[in-house]
Amino acid sequence: MISKSIFLIFVAFGSFSCKAQNPIISLDNKGQDGIINNAYYKDIDNDLDAYIGTWAYENGDSSFTMSFLKKTQSFNGKWYQDLLVGDYQYIVNGIQVLDYLPRLTDSNINDGQHTIDGNRIIYKNFFPKCDECDINERRIVLYFSDLDRNYLSSEIAIRHYIENGVEKIKVWLYDSDSAVLPYEGAPTEIRVPYGEYIMTKQ
């Protein structure tokens, strides 16, 4: 009797789980048919996996370092999705400007509080255009936040490639949306300069 009850509970739970993440759609097709409630936008082709880890740009005493984790089945209240989340550190002339890297493994920081997150897949001719990309090569676009200037919206597009056996990513960092500055003289850019960075896997 007890085992039958347990079985029924598992069946019910399994049914609920299936229903809660249905249908499963490739990240690449996200948006093509509109967003479907409770759908699971899955990284079927494992596009996100290549970016997991720590990447660094160095220029003398200055550096820009990012670390990424992959989150699976993250729920945003409407749909499930696989995500890259990350945080970063920026040092100029040996002086640390900001360091959000500890947030990546901080158990008090939830998925929505990382300074980098996203999963949008773009191609060669999408903004920002990638002259060196193959026509079908996929890049990832992620939201990028400076928490002290969170009124500014920024994004990064990242391209993974291997050069001379070394894993690298190219990063396009750009402002992505309008803003009303919150006070007189408020900075109009985040602290990490907009531009392109080549980062090497650490």
Binding site: I35, V180, P182
Partner: protein
């Protein structure tokens, strides 16, 4: 004894003949309100700045403020999104007599509401403020009579609720926050109108009928002669539901002969305002004769003399953008129309271009100021308290969409919050204009759209999103990003999957945005924002809406 004191505090005298029509700000001369003055009251309209001088009032209003408002500054408009109204702290009647004073505010419902509601903050002996919601159900004729200074009998027209706590969010559901009141109109001792005396009646909050010393009920009213509530038998006792619902209703005030109301209610009714019977009560504010000064208010009408609908106001303000200024504009400033026309010529450049729409501080003339945006792809509107809106372009460089982004929508709220330090005029003032190409790489088909505030209460709800940058509320969702992603996701559907280029059919974006404006979270939540499109020669605007069959209706502002 405690009950007696409570009854004294709950006696409200509304000096109705001396009411003030809140019409246009400059045509109400309160100093001529001789009747009130005769009774020893000083009555005046005060503005928000004067209100801000009283820290206790600010403290009393604090719970009404949007807790998510940036800077925690008390806004001139205080919203209650749950109940769908806002308190206009610019429409304040200040009444003072000796050590007593009160503030009466206009509660403006956003949705059509036949009732007129005022919020009364009345000073108590302990220097705190007691709050009452005064609801009036007046006919148009009565409103007109009132405006013209005539006498209106409010006997059957009024409902009073006492708020034990300033908790508007729970007001609709938390009956315990209300005290149970009964009211009766009595003829003023002078033949100039009616006073309203409010008494506590039996509350239905307990199933037993035991006399709880903590409960204020009619059975406690042993002093001051006959009391209101269940025992009140006079013709004007008003609330037949006392002891049954606990919620003050309009009820049946009985006959409105305007005479007695069951006698003296608490020793502080208006019949004793002649000062011959000093009150022996230290817990109320006494006048020089030793009588309690009752909680006193005056009616404020919502009507501000402007009969235009929200859409008409929005259209009028939009049309102003296209009007030829009758004042000189010194370059590099432009008129709003010149600025929009200029942006139409810049769509082939990289990066967004834009102007902020400002009122000159010297004369409030509307001008457009170019925003230098050399290093950014996206426009950055400077912080200026005279900025009532902005216009910018979305280049067709493949970076963005040819339509309003999530942040563009939130910018409208930011304009409203920033303008004049958040002390609002009419919400129809604010505007965000977007100039974009309808999917074409060239400038062949520039289109101009604008968003306006259709419902300021709903728009204010978006403040929760604005304040959740970095998931400030720690619920796992950064609402700003979530908001932006959701509208972006709608646009992505239309992109060329190979190039990411926008679709040339602008109506796709219009429909997507309109759907989003009407339901931004999938749960039917509206943004309070409406969408307009300009004609090609920048002479007229049309409001765009979605029809039931998902077509776009275009309603011109000017036919």
């Amino acid at each position: 004894m405690a009950t007696s004191q409570a009854l004294k505090y709950l006696a409200i005298v509304l000096l109705m003949l001396c009411v003030i029509s809140c019409q246009r700000e400059d045509d109400t001369d309160l100093s001529n309100d001789t009747e009130l003055i005769d009774r020893g009251f000083k009555i005046e309209r005060i503005d928000f700045n004067a209100l801000k001088q009283n820290e206790n009032v600010l403290s009393a209003l604090e719970p009404f403020t949007n807790k998510n408002t940036s800077g925690n500054e008390l806004s001139r408009i205080i919203h209650d999104s749950v109940n769908g109204f806002y308190i206009d702290t610019e429409k304040v009647i200040y009444i003072e007599k000796e050590g007593y004073h009160s503030y009466t505010f206009s509660m403006v419902p956003y949705e059509d509401n036949e009732k007129i509601e005022n919020l009364l903050l009345s000073l108590q002996a302990d220097q705190s403020y007691k709050a009452f919601i005064l609801s009036y159900n007046l006919t148009d004729e009565e409103i007109e009579t009132h405006k013209e200074g005539g006498i209106v009998d409010f006997t059957e027209k009024m409902d009073v609720k006492s708020l034990a706590e300033f908790d508007f969010e729970n007001m609709s559901s938390n009956e315990a926050a209300r005290e149970c009141l009964d009211f009766a109109w009595i003829q003023s001792p002078r033949d100039w109108g009616f006073d309203l005396v409010i008494t506590v009646v039996d509350c239905p909050d307990e199933s037993n009928n035991e006399d709880d010393p903590e409960e204020i009920d009619a059975g406690d009213s042993s002093t001051g002669g006959a009391t209101g509530g269940d025992s009140q038998s006079g013709p004007n006792t008003g609330n037949p539901n006392s002891g049954s619902t606990g919620e003050q209703t309009e009820g049946d005030p009985g006959s409105d002969d305007g005479s007695s109301s069951g006698g003296s209610t608490n020793g502080s009714n208006s019949n004793e305002n002649n000062g011959n019977s000093p009150d022996d009560n230290e817990d109320c504010i006494l006048d020089v004769d030793g009588n309690c000064i009752d909680d006193t208010s005056s009616l404020i009408l919502i009507d501000d003399g402007d009969d235009r609908s929200v859409d008409e106001k929005n259209c009028d303000e939009l049309q102003k953008l296209f009007s030829i200024p009758n004042y000189p504009i010194t370059p590099p400033l432009k008129s709003p129309k010149q600025a929009i026309a200029h942006l139409k010529t810049l769509l082939d450049q990289n990066g967004e271009r834009g102007y902020s729409l400002n009122h000159l501080t010297s004369n409030l003339n509307a001008v457009a100021s170019w925003i230098s945006n050399p290093n950014n792809n996206s426009i950055r509107y400077p912080y200026r308290q005279n900025t009532y809106g902005g216009c910018h372009s979305h280049q067709n460089d493949g970076k963005g969409d040819p339509f309003f982004s999530g942040q563009d929508l939130l910018d409208l709220l930011q304009f409203k919050n920033t303008y004049n330090n958040g002390t609002l005029v009419d919400p129809s003032l604010f505007v965000h204009v977007l100039v974009s190409n309808a999917g074409s790489i060239t400038n062949e088909n520039p289109v101009v759209h604008a968003i306006k505030i259709e419902n300021p209460v709903l728009l204010q709800n978006l403040q929760i999103i604005v304040d959740d940058h970095g998931d400030a509320d720690n619920d796992g969702i950064d609402l700003v990003l979530d908001f932006s992603k959701k509208i972006k996701q709608k646009y992505v559907e239309f992109e060329d999957p190979d190039t990411g280029q926008p679709n040339s059919d602008i109506s796709l974006y219009q429909k997507a945005l309109l759907r989003f404006l009407n339901d931004f979270d999938g749960n039917g939540s509206k943004t309070g924002i409406s969408l307009y499109k300009a004609n090609d020669d920048l002479t007229n605007w049309s409001k765009l809406t979605l029809s039931e069959n998902n077509n776009i209706n275009s309603d011109p502002c000017s036919n």
